[in-house]
């Protein structure tokens, strides 16, 4: 109990320190709102965005993109990672493309993908999934390869099928490493959704950032959108950590 109280206390303290520092910068620098709004201006703007319903609409759109994009990206990445980890041939054939795709700035590719896939939710989910893919696929591959060969031999001596070997040994023993990839991937999903929206969308937090920043010079509103994205990122990261605690026993 005491540990939890202390942890929450530390969290509140660090948040307070962050806000104070932020406020001090705006005061000392004598910065106008469109350069760096003070925290209370962002809060006020946020409350207004909530009451008008703007924030909820855009947040909802982005949340759907993040969830679908992360789900699609993580599942294909885990499946690909298993194949990469199991077969040197598959790794040789596929990894140049995977690495090349990762090295190409997604920001440049996103408008094209948007055109190719019809500019709707599908295109945005795919862009998001593409960003999520790499760290999870690599983590899965590394995890699968780190399976103890002595345990694998033991399972084979018991007549385990290749499928049982994957499900009962390789995935469970790769799980801690896979979760490392998922932690990185889930934060990238948030970025992926925003990038996808920038490539052509009419709503979402990424769009809201653009409207606030370039259209209205409403920097406090942009900070509201950024803060919302940060909170979403933290929340999803927390969910991944929770899932990890439940699934990874050792």
């Amino acid at each position: 109990m005491g540990v939890i109280v202390r942890r929450i206390g530390a969290g509140i303290l660090s948040l307070a320190a962050f806000l104070v520092a932020w406020k001090l910068i705006t005061v000392i620098g004598d910065l106008p709102d469109f350069i760096l709004p003070p925290p209370e201006a962002v809060v006020q703007r946020g409350l207004r965005a909530i009451t008008t319903g703007t924030l909820a609409t855009h947040t909802g759109v982005t949340l759907v993109e993040i969830i679908l994009g992360f789900a699609v990206g993580a599942l294909t990445a885990i499946a690909t990672g298993i194949a990469l980890g199991k077969s040197v041939l598959i790794e040789r054939v596929l990894s140049p493309y995977i690495v090349a795709a990762q090295a190409v700035p997604i920001l440049a590719l996103a408008p094209l993908l948007d055109i190719w896939f019809g500019g709707g939710l599908l295109a945005r989910v795919l862009i998001c999934a593409l960003i999520v893919f790499f760290p999870i696929a690599i983590a899965t591959m590394v995890g699968i390869r780190s399976t103890d060969p002595l345990l694998a031999e033991m399972l084979r001596s018991l007549g385990a099928t290749p499928r049982q070997l994957i499900l009962r040994l390789e995935i469970p023993s790769a799980l801690p490493v896979i979760f490392g990839g998922l932690r990185v991937g889930v934060t990238l999903a948030v970025i992926g959704a925003v990038v996808a929206e920038w490539a052509g969308a009419s709503s979402g937090l990424g769009v809201l950032i653009n409207i606030a920043n370039q259209g209205l010079f409403d920097t406090p509103l942009m900070f509201v959108a950024l803060t919302t994205l940060a909170v979403i990122g933290l929340a999803f990261y927390g969910l991944v950590v929770l899932a990890e605690r439940r699934l990874v026993a050792h």
């Binding site: 002595l150 084979r156 001596s157 018991l158 007549g159 385990a160 009962r168 023993s173």
Partner: protein, 270 residues
């Protein structure tokens, strides 16, 4: 040849026939050369030899984990096939799955073959009972001592009640006293439920205490140097291991000394 002296006849168990077995690894290393061996159903055979002579390779071939490069291996009338329930291999290391409880580890052979939960649990508890690990059911391998882990591995090998049990130095990581206790227990388990056992070991004493017959292998590539019958009455105790046991030990050590000149057993005079 083989002298089996015990109360019940050796009916349960699988005959093992190895004919002209050779194993060469992909790198070109020859592990075994022209091994021929006939093992009677229900007998206890010890295979002895120094490190690297291919003893473990022989067991892996018998367990169906490694195909012979040359020659034939038959269990009963068929070649070995992993998971067909006829053979269990207990490894040198316990090889327990770290995230499974002791019960789930022991029940793993049943789990892989889709045995229903209730029966799985019942049989795993019975197997743990037999090796004196009933209390460890819910513990993870990390919470077990080295000896307990080895017991759990033995229970896992016994749970399918295989007619052929292969033991690859299963007690070699244990201290000498614990090891003797395990040997005594292994004898008891075998006398209770006879089956064909092939035990790979470094220990002449262990081989004499347990086996009907000792097969001495040469250094790599392993060949059979000599077979020594252990015609001692059972159950064997240290009292029973009197002059006759000494004679057998000398025979085995002399063979080891002759096939590994300078390497081993310097205290054999001859």
């Amino acid at each position: 040849m083989t002298t089996v002296q015990r109360s019940e006849p050796a009916t349960r168990g699988l005959a093992v026939r190895v004919a002209g077995l050779g194993v060469t690894f992909p790198g070109g290393t020859q592990a075994l050369r022209d091994i021929s061996l006939d093992v009677e159903p229900g007998s206890f055979t010890a295979v002895i030899g120094p490190n690297g002579c291919g003893k473990s390779t022989l067991l892996r071939v018998l367990a169906g984990l490694l195909p012979p490069t040359r020659g034939r291996v038959e269990l009963g009338a068929q070649p070995p096939r992993p998971g067909d329930g006829r053979v269990s291999l207990a490894f040198q290391q316990p090889r327990l799955v770290p995230w499974l409880s002791t019960l789930d580890n022991v029940a793993l052979p049943l789990t892989l073959h889709g045995v229903a939960n209730g029966e799985r649990r019942r049989r795993a508890e019975a197997a743990l009972d037999r090796v004196g690990l009933r209390d460890a059911v819910d513990r993870t391998p990390r919470e077990l001592s080295g000896g307990m882990r080895q017991r759990a591995a033995l229970a896992r090998a016994l749970i399918t009640d295989p007619p052929l049990l292969l033991l690859d130095e299963p007690f070699s990581a244990l201290d000498a006293l614990t090891r003797e206790a395990f040997d005594a227990e292994l004898q008891r388990l075998w006398l209770d439920q006879p089956r064909t056992v092939i035990l790979v070991t470094h220990s002449v004493g262990e081989a004499i205490a347990l086996a009907d017959r000792i097969v001495v292998l040469t250094a790599r590539p392993g060949r059979v140097a000599r077979e020594v019958a252990v015609d001692l009455p059972r159950p064997r105790t240290f009292n029973a291991m009197a002059p006759r046991a000494r004679e057998i030990e000398v025979a085995v050590r002399e063979t080891l000394a002759s096939v590994h000149p300078g390497d081993l057993v310097p205290w054999v005079s001859s």
